[in-house]
Amino acid sequence: MIVKRNELTWFERLYLPALIGGLKVTTRHFLNTLTTKTPVTQQYPEEPTRVLPGYRGAPYLVRDQDGATKCVSCQLCEFVCPPKAIRITPPGPTGKPADRTNAEKMPEEFEINMLRCIFCGLCQEVCPEEAIFLKSDFSLTGLARNEMIYDKEKLLALGGTHSGIQKWKQKLEEAKEQEIFPVKV
């Protein structure tokens, strides 16, 4: 496509139309904000922020409907995590067994360094057990660096319980959707 460039008329080259246009816009905004008091600013700490669905906040571990740890310590998330924010200590042959029936093991320790995490969501994507989710928390603060390393207990407490057994359900739907996707050329 070729954009036709019109020659500017002498009036336009005086910058006057552009100036008047700018004058109008700025005056309108100035007066509107001054009189109707509807600025777009959110007064953040006082007014709670709304986080839209799909927001990728801090990754937390979730429990299943019985309150048992969903994570099976497969370490896929540890492997996939780009900045290596996750460190999992597997139970080993002598460790504690899983606290739910249909799992072989659960992590001995599960740490996420929130200072390293880039909130990419790959851990959630890769987890076969749907045990880790990026929640909507975005303001994580601590007084020291080691406070920002969240251990298993904290992650589970923050993550809460996941409603119902959802294993593979969503993935199945996604796969189905991919199949019926009309791939027309």
Binding site: A18, L19, G22, L23, V25, T26, H29, F30, N32, T33, L34, T38, P39, V40, T41, Q43
Partner: protein
């Protein structure tokens, strides 16, 4: 006041001059600080935001209505900004040219304040004329001083010894030198009309013959006044644009242009050294606004209610100072407003506007004014 009268005239002069300097510099610095706040608030309003509204002082903040209101207004922000500037680490990068690096902020700050010395900011207060130095060549002095302002920026660009500040400095020097020519030429019609270089005399003339920017306003409706209207408007517009360019304000802030040059000539500066550039910029704006008020808008006069005569009481003197301040602050507001109205010029456009539009226009305007005066003064 007996002890004052007992002093010799020279000592009295020195005393009153020092007093005036203190009385101008103090409020000016406060105004500069609050101009920064005003700029932030105006910007915020134009962009549908609220602007600074956080700082709260312990005692005053707990006064029922006033405290929260002042906080919302951002009234204490300049204070806190100042403190922040002072206690921030003053970092000197290893690669800078130290002497110039230290000198540049001062050099950019001082001229702006020197200009204010010759501006008549009111008529009289008691027996004292409200101008620090009643120079007969006031306007020449201002132009001399204003052109010093560029050295601060150029030195800063050179001293930083890195590319972006250097480019900013080069741009600033080219820009300020070219616009100074247009600026100087745009005031020549004023001198032709007034016939004097003393800023006080210029105001007096405007009180009788109408404002230089628009001679019909306040000067009667004679033929000469009507004929001088286009000359006045053109020279005022050229002076205004040049003043924007001289103070490095948008749309002419090529020296800073943060989208291309990080932040131009003061990229390497931090803490109070940066603060001084900042104060310098705003003081320059005030100086420009004061110059425009004096040269084109009749200074402390208003053409009605008898406000165009030198004051005979203290109250009138204060009213005159108020009028001057009002006009000046109006200009400041326009400066801030323009910032969000016009996109930044490209460097070649800027030069083109300066050399190929404004200078010829200013020259033509001189000839036109001279012709009008020659035809109508007979």
């Amino acid at each position: 006041m007996a002890w004052l009268d007992s002093l010799s005239p020279q000592t009295q002069f020195v005393f009153f001059t020092l007093l005036k300097i203190a009385c101008v510099l103090g409020p000016l610095l406060t105004l500069v600080a609050y101009a920064v706040l005003a700029e932030r608030k105006v910007s915020a309003l134009i962009q549908d935001r609220v602007g600074p509204n956080r700082v709260n002082l312990p005692l005053i903040g707990s006064i029922p209505v006033l405290g929260p209101f002042l906080t919302k207004l951002g009234f204490w922000h300049p204070l806190v900004d100042g403190v922040k500037s002072f206690i921030k680490e003053d970092f000197t990068p290893a690669h800078v040219r130290k002497i110039y690096f230290w000198l540049a902020p001062a050099i950019s700050l001082v001229p702006a304040f020197l200009v204010v010395a010759v501006i008549p900011f009111g008529s009289t207060l008691g027996a004292q004329k409200m101008v620090i130095a009643d120079l007969n060549v006031g306007i020449l002095y201002t132009f001399g001083i204003v052109s010093l302002g560029v050295y601060g920026i150029v030195l800063a660009g050179y001293a930083a010894n890195s590319k972006f500040p250097f480019l900013g400095g080069i741009r600033a020097s080219a820009q300020m030198i070219s616009y100074e020519i247009a600026m100087g030429m745009s005031v020549i019609p004023v001198f032709l009309v007034v016939g004097d270089l003393n800023l006080g005399k210029i105001i007096e003339h405007q009180a009788q013959n109408g404002w230089n920017a628009f001679p019909v306003f306040g000067g009667g409706f004679g033929l000469q006044q009507w004929l001088l209207v286009p000359c006045g408007v053109v020279s005022f517009v050229i002076f205004f644009i040049s003043a924007l360019a001289e103070t490095n304000r948008l749309p002419f802030d090529m020296a800073e242009s943060e989208s291309e040059l990080v932040s131009g000539y003061h990229t390497e500066y931090s803490s109070m050294k940066f603060g001084m550039f900042f104060i310098g910029e705003y003081a320059n704006m005030f100086a420009g606004a004061a110059m425009m008020t004096t040269l084109f808008l009749g200074g402390w006069t208003l053409p009605f209610l008898g406000l165009d005569q030198p004051a005979d009481s203290i109250l009138m003197g204060l009213v005159h100072i108020g009028i001057f301040m009002g006009k000046m602050l109006g200009f400041m507001f326009i400066f801030m407003w323009l910032r969000w109205m016009l996109p930044r010029f490209r460097y070649d456009q800027l030069m083109d506007l300066g050399w190929r539009r404004m200078i010829p226009l200013a020259l033509a305007n001189i000839i036109l004014t001279a012709a009008v005066l020659a035809l109508t003064n007979r």
